[in-house]
Symmetry: C2
Subunit: 151 residues, 2 copies
């Protein structure tokens, strides 16, 4: 499956404003509204578009402390173990298994430093976690799109 230029421009338009009308997007890319909708529907079926979401300002919502936790896990910990263990934390914004020294990198949003510390301690106490190393975000410089990719 490959996206042609038209699909890319539609996704790009939706990335900037997911509530734009199909007619509006169509005017930009040179299609009628139904044609745009059909392509969006197809992109959803293909799994290229997984949904629409709101872009929020963490700080404005009271999540003023952001950080990353590098997790070092015990032997025989599966990615699925980590996923199950972390999905219970609403403070976990993202998590991936990674190459390098650590086993996983976990992005955290907390209301303040005290909250961050509590989350860190609870995660460090998970049975599959051997040790952790964490860094705090000083300034969020750049953030694009939901899942991160440049479209």
């Amino acid at each position: 499956m490959s996206l042609n230029d038209l699909d890319e421009r539609i996704v790009h338009a939706l990335a900037e404003d997911a509530r734009r009308t199909y007619a509006d997007i169509g005017a930009e890319v040179g299609l009628s509204a139904p044609a745009v909708k059909r392509r969006v529907d197809r992109l959803r079926e293909q799994g290229a578009i997984t949904g629409f979401t709101v872009r929020v300002d963490p700080a404005a919502l009271g999540w003023k402390t952001e950080g990353f936790i590098e997790m070092y896990c015990r032997s025989h910990t599966t990615p699925d173990d980590i996923h199950r263990g972390l999905s219970r934390y609403p403070e976990v914004a993202a998590a991936s298994t990674v190459t390098g020294d650590a086993d996983a990198l976990v992005q955290i949003f907390a209301s303040d430093m005290r909250h961050f510390e509590q989350v860190l301690e609870r995660i460090a106490g998970e049975p599959f976690v051997e040790r952790t190393k964490s860094v705090l975000v000083l300034s969020p410089l750049l953030r694009r799109y939901t899942a991160g990719p440049p479209v």
Copy 2:
């Protein structure tokens, strides 16, 4: 500015599906459609909601290689220098200055390993960059919301 329970539930509903109708959301939270719209408008004015975007599957769009670059910068590099330097790269999905050894943490999406390597080399060659350390994502386990925060 603080969000009450109603606002939170509206943001949560939009986070799950930003194209839901106001009437639909209203039925869930117990408000009429105009009432929901007014709150959303107010949240946008306040900056709590910064926009609506599409949630895409990077892999389905051809961005199959994800990684993080820890940047060690030269002295006297400002966050603004980093922002200016990195915003030119479409492959940069997110970037933050952080505590710890590295100065900044940069999230990258590339089409493949070769592409990732090229981006890494170009970023490492930026005048404000002293050295880099990079990790590759093996499995993206969890991803929530646009800007990352739990709502």
